[in-house]
């Protein structure tokens, strides 16, 4: 029996299977090419890219937590010009979809990054990370206010011709409200969740473990909350939802799909097993075979 794992996220973004890798956990892809065939993925989302190169935060940037980790990388990246010149050419040979995650400190940064990426045909979609602090908005994250989230989305929409995914932060009172706001502003899909704001104190040294005191929690520790948020958002919006947060295996991924996600992203799991993402693809296929599911869409949103 041929099982159809293909999914359509709309606006031209069609994936061979519902598995993507999450931004910031997969480098620019090549780090994983030694371990897996990247073409077996639905696509991969590369590291958050900003207008200017960024050195990120000072060390320490990492602390391990129960079933997870907190990072404070601070969007270290070579900048969009460097990406376009040196990294993009290494990505054009893949048959799986390449998605670029973009960030900025003000609306005009996002717009400029999207404009520079627009001519790069192999970039099938951008994922707009609205979890960054808005310098003009007083440092509050774009993603925490429906107005600011809609403003960034609408501005990028004007210059970005292909699929636009907007990535939501879970650090809000109502993620549904933000999701609806970006849908109305022109997003083609929403992905959630980004990391949860968290911190750990080293009591022996009487200091915070991270240089920035707080950072972003990821991994299985956040999964049940992420599944709940995806379930709520999927019922509230018409555009496709991409689910992520602590997915370690196919069964975790299927939780998100059954909760309403059209596709999923594998993040922190890549660090523990660099082949985690393709194992999720295989595991979903195996599940469908065992349960006589002919098309992955039969499982979507059944909860």
């Amino acid at each position: 029996m041929g099982i159809n794992l293909k999914v359509d996220l709309g606006a031209g973004l069609k994936l061979d299977n519902p598995v993507l890798t999450a931004s910031g956990t997969f480098g620019f892809g090549h780090q994983y090419a030694e371990f897996i065939d990247l073409n077996r993925l639905g696509g991969f989302i590369v590291k958050g890219t900003t207008l200017e190169p960024r050195q990120g935060n000072p060390a320490p940037r990492l602390v391990e937590t129960p079933s997870g980790m907190i990072n404070a990388v601070g969007l270290q990246n070579p900048g969009v010009e460097d990406f376009a010149k040196y990294i993009y050419p290494t990505l054009t040979g893949f048959t799986s979809k390449v998605i670029v995650n973009i960030s900025g400190a003000q609306v005009s940064d996002y717009v400029k990054v999207a404009e520079i990426l627009a001519p790069l045909e192999k970039v099938s979609a951008i994922e707009v990370n609205i979890s960054c602090p808005n310098v003009k908005g007083g440092g509050m994250s774009f993603g925490t206010s429906p107005e600011m989230a809609a403003e960034v989305t609408a501005a990028v929409r004007k210059v970005w011709p292909r699929h636009m995914m907007v990535k939501l932060t879970p650090n809000v009172t109502s993620v549904v409200q933000i999701a609806k706001a970006v849908e109305a502003a022109g997003a083609d899909s929403v992905s959630l969740v980004n990391t949860f704001l968290a911190m750990v104190v080293d009591v022996e040294r009487r200091k915070a473990c991270l240089s920035t005191v707080t950072g972003g929690l990821s991994g299985p520790a956040i999964r049940p909350i992420a599944v709940r948020m995806v379930w709520q958002v999927a019922q509230a919006v018409k555009i496709p939802v991409v689910g992520l947060g602590g997915i370690m295996d196919a069964s975790d991924a299927l939780q998100f799909i059954m909760a309403g996600a059209t596709a999923v992203q594998i993040g922190t799991a890549n660090f523990i097993d660099p082949a985690a993402s393709v194992k999720v693809v295989d595991g979903i296929e195996d599940y469908c075979r065992r349960h006589n599911v002919a098309d992955i869409s039969e499982l979507r949103g059944i909860i």
Binding site: G27, G56, L62, V63, I272, P274
Partner: protein
């Protein structure tokens, strides 16, 4: 080529210091890939519910192309569970990672290897390579007391021309920190160092003062181990924040910005 595979724990010997010498062979019977001294592996500690991320451990030695030797100090939960594993346990290991020590063109050179604690681990394979390349190797090992260094010097004896030992309490060898060993006064063409950060910084200061080429091995906390997460960075004078897991863990001291 990097790989992730299951290994079988074939030997697990406790040294007086409480550190363990652990040997592994690939479960599929294959040969190990080429591994340079100073490169490391990422070990998955499945028998600990608390250890979520892999644990980076330097390669101590490779024997007969199939046997991987790790020198592990139980530090926290993850390493404690690792050293408690019984022989024949299956352990998932990712290797070889990072860039090791540069040991080419060492023929006729007088080199000093300085190791403290588990830092001594990667220096064993380095010592072997340098000796094979024609270098005259002096090894200096530091520890708090006899227990820390017992069973360590013998690892180097077959390859080094001299093995010097220093202990804080004088229970073995010279009394004092490793940098106070009289051997430090001699001239060396190169110094390689691995151990606790304060010790490496002290050695770096001496090397800098005498204008001696010197490499150290860093132990920044890591998640992926392959340059994907950017969690392990060190600030360098030439290229800003770089990943210790791919650019290092071995660095020439003149690149380390905060060590000036």
């Amino acid at each position: 080529m990097k790989q992730v595979k299951d290994f079988i724990l074939t030997g697990n010997r406790t040294l007086p210091s409480g550190c363990h010498l652990m040997t592994f062979v690939p479960a599929d019977g294959a040969k190990l890939p080429a591994i340079e001294p100073g490169q490391f592996v990422q070990v998955k500690v499945d028998n600990s519910p608390k250890a979520f991320l892999r644990r980076p451990i330097s390669v101590c030695d490779v024997r007969y192309e199939t046997e991987l030797v790790l020198f592990v100090k139980p530090q926290g939960e993850g390493t404690r569970c690792l050293v408690e594993l019984p022989e024949n346990s299956v352990v998932n290991i990712m290797l070889p990672l990072g860039r090791g020590f540069s040991c080419d063109e060492c023929n006729g050179h007088k080199v000093l290897l300085v190791g403290g604690g588990v830092g001594a681990a990667p220096l064993v394979a380095l010592c072997k390579n340098l000796a094979a390349g024609g270098a005259d190797v002096t090894v200096a090992i530091g520890g708090r007391s006899r227990r820390d260094v017992a069973g360590v010097d013998v690892l180097y004896k077959p390859y080094a021309s001299k093995v010097l030992v220093a202990t804080d309490d004088g229970s073995c060898g010279h009394k004092g920190v490793v940098t106070s060993l009289p051997g430090f006064d001699e001239h060396y063409d190169r110094i390689y160092c691995c151990g606790p950060t304060p010790m490496m910084k002290a050695v770096a200061r001496i090397a800098r003062a005498k204008d001696i080429w010197c490499q150290v091995s860093l132990e920044n906390h890591m998640a992926c181990g392959i340059g994907a997460c950017l969690c392990c960075v060190e600030n360098t004078s030439d290229r800003g924040n770089v990943c210790v897991c791919t650019e290092g863990p071995v660095f020439n001291i003149n690149r380390l910005q905060s060590w000036e």
